[in-house]
Amino acid sequence: MKSMKKVELVIEAVYINRLLELFKKHEISGYTIIKDIEGRGGHGLKTADDVSDVFSNIYVFTVCEEEMFLSMKEEIRAFVIKYGGKCIITDAMVILSQQ
């Protein structure tokens, strides 16, 4: 098992491609996405039964090494300031293929 950072983001669906671009730039190649979720935050209530799915929330998480997270931390902050959303970081272990 290896010590890593789990980085969770809740953002507006419309920005998902920009977030994945940011991941790509930082060579984050593994992530998981859950679409059409709901929530409330500084930008009010978001529901998943809107007329379109472009404004609902999307939940994304990636588990990466601490350095990787640190290298993109400021860009994530800028992302969240510009586009809204929430970013949560936790310590996590990952089960690797080799022991």
């Binding site: 059409d36 799915d53 472009v54």
Partner: protein
Amino acid sequence: MDINLILQNISNPPVLFFFLGMLAVFLKSDLSIPQPLPKLFSLYLLIAIGLHGGYELSKSGLDFYIFKALLLAILMSLLVPIYSFFILRKKVDVYNAIAIAATYGSISAVTFITGITYLQTVGVEYGGFMVASMALMESPAIVIALVFAALFAKDSNSDTTEKPRWKEILREAFLNPSVFLLIGALIIGITSGEKGWTSMEPLFGALFKGFLAFFLLDMGLVAARKIHELKKVGFFLIAFALIMPTINALVGAGLAYFFGLSKGDAFLLALLSASASYIAVPAAMRLSVPEANPGIYLPLSLAVTFPFNISMGIPLYYFIINTLWK
């Protein structure tokens, strides 16, 4: 204005379902239509109008009249966002002015559809090519918004490191799912002609109004939930959202009259000009002008203009055009 015109429109089940949806929110019923059901309905509606319009086009073929009508549609979709922007700029900051102008410059497919069912109710003909007009009117306002943003909000790129994302945003303008599917279905409708339409009609023709009712029920829920956001929006913008559609409709009707469109086509052009986008343009504005507040342009479009258009606007524009064309 004949009160009957309004009643005829409002007793239309799809419109009634819209108000039922609003009522559900006002009474705090837990009714909801979760994703991806709204997505199913809107995919259905886009394919249905595309296919049907294409089929009609395959029968009529292209001629100068149609060409003229399509050009008028593009003209309107360029005019509206431009003059709206300068009106808005008097009271609103540049970002929000751009986003609201683009929202009102583009169109709402569901308003268009509701207008078509109204024409069928009152028994007035219209051209199938008007679906192509609608498709053409979706994107120009987004391009105008991009140009305005480049011209008037230059200093916006506070983080000058970031290059403008023209490619992404133009793709969003011309290839967003609504426009793409509508034009795609239109072309399929043209290509597969009578035979194709016959095989698709049971799903995409006969069930049309039923699906519209379903979708409007959901629109009602969403519109009502946005109403309370209007408090923060202010009197000027609410007045804008109530009055501007009629002005746009008048401009559209005037041009249509001048260029000799038929009554039905003129009505649809006026209605398209009057309608405001709540899916494609807002999504594009989020990407291109994130500084604009979606808590303003979305409620204006969804909770003011849309309900106004499908309840009062449709009979009003019809009344005006009916009088002019007599």
